[in-house]
Assembly symmetry: C2
């Protein structure tokens, strides 16, 4: 192609000099909320001593409101919205961006929120395998109307390195476990409090306990396609999500704003510590 327009980033290879803008990127951190990814970029600015963590950082994708993107030294911080389709569009355009920018040795980490299963609220889960609603470690992609099955393994060494960082930080509980990735937040995650619900509390509990027995420690909505696409394109990838509640004890996220904000900072803190360690080693 003469020109590649990354439509949902509002960036293009003719209008932007990708190697100059992104050529030094070594870490990409992604998460659902644009404001959280901005505050992560600001946090990393302070951690890497690249400036004041309170200074405003420009949004590279300011021409669109589909995604927000911030760059701090070798770290790119991007929002991906909610759900598999939304993160999949972002990943297609990100992978093309890294390719056009001639980036190498890139590590990509999703830092997000999730519902825990059998763990205390505030616990951080590093994903070993992303599993589907039947607890299988696979992602079904539909291509030309036909189902293609893709592997959802993540980098186990990276997961162990991240767990080690959490031990060193020593401020919150972190576990390695399977993450169930669903297409829906309410019925898809066996919640009783959606607008639609066709099952009983007993059936819900039976399902969530079966998930726990299959090694699932949290549920979110993006990890499967993230793992699958990183696997195929050879990106070293991890998923680090905090559990906002324990689903064996309820469905509603009713903790105070302050408590939830502190929980959401935990994956940021863990991944910030990891990136700083990696850069110091070199």
């Amino acid at each position: 192609m003469e020109e590649d327009i990354l439509y949902h980033f509002d960036l293009g290879t003719v209008t932007h000099d990708f190697p100059a803008m992104f050529g030094d990127v070594k870490f990409v951190c992604v998460g659902g909320s644009p404001s959280r990814m901005k505050s992560f970029a600001q946090y990393i600015t302070g951690e890497l001593a690249l400036g004041d963590s309170k200074t405003d950082i420009p949004n590279i994708c300011a021409g669109t409101d589909r995604y927000a993107m911030y760059k701090v030294g070798p770290v790119l911080s991007i929002s991906h919205g909610m759900g598999i389709p939304s993160i999949s569009i972002m990943l297609h355009e990100l992978i093309k961006l890294l390719y056009h920018s001639k980036c190498s040795d890139v590590t990509i980490i999703r830092i997000g929120t999730s519902g825990g299963i059998g763990i205390n609220p505030g616990s951080v889960v590093i994903t070993s395998q992303s599993v589907d609603a039947s607890f299988r470690p696979q992602f079904e992609q539909i291509v030309l109307g036909k189902t293609v099955i893709r592997n959802t393994d993540l980098d186990s060494n990276l997961a162990l390195e991240l767990l080690k960082c959490s031990t060193e930080i020593n401020e919150f509980n972190t576990v390695i476990g399977n993450t169930m990735c669903t297409l829906d937040f309410y019925e898809g995650q066996a919640r009783l409090d959606g607008a639609l619900c066709s099952y009983t509390e007993d059936e819900k509990m039976q399902y969530l306990k079966a998930a726990y027995d299959a090694g699932v420690r949290n549920i979110e909505m993006e990890s499967s396609v993230f793992a699958a696409m990183c696997n195929i394109t050879g990106l070293r990838a991890a998923v680090v999500c905090v559990a906002l509640l324990n689903r064996l004890e309820g469905d509603q996220i009713s903790s105070s704003h302050e408590v939830l904000t502190e929980y959401q900072q935990r994956p940021q803190k863990l991944v910030g510590f990891f990136i700083k360690n990696q850069l110091t080693k070199k």
Copy 2:
């Protein structure tokens, strides 16, 4: 439940008086982009002579960046992000909001963008049926790990009323046709320009032509769950999307910013005209 927290709206039945805030809502318009839904609310303000269309309107969901919500008289305008999971979370919380607010006779219309098949860019498609990637008029929802099939019919009288409005406006081409709803923008829509592509241009064209033969006139990523949930809960619903390109002629959205902006205003204009008509009749 004593309290219902609509987490992704940052609204709750204890902290907010739903009947007072939303009791008079008769029309809900939803679309992917927060800024587009804000500009729709401003446009409707002018159309319904409820104020100056340039005045700022407060975001009711300002406490979160998951969705944006604006209210103008009996019209609610809400963003839903991209993809089935993202709109599904919004719809669950919207349906609960309408229930708690004791709203009645509500019409809900998705106004969005799409890729056209065999129609000129800028054409508007009113959806007769939302079909899946195999052109079946159904939505597969996974509940407790099992697949449930749901109907994706939309209100045919509403579709005809909207088509009539377009004839009266007489400014752009509008058709009634099937809309294919996919879980992915690149591979899921047979694009050749994604980061991954495992098929040839011939196979792509064969697939898109088969879609055309099945009555599909555009492709987007939210209509199936929208139709299914509105069906079950008895909401009168329509999907009105403009085609930004003709997929039989290419994959990239490369029209100028000005042209795309004008295209995106067409569903707004059509639905604005319809709402004004409905309110004048009474």
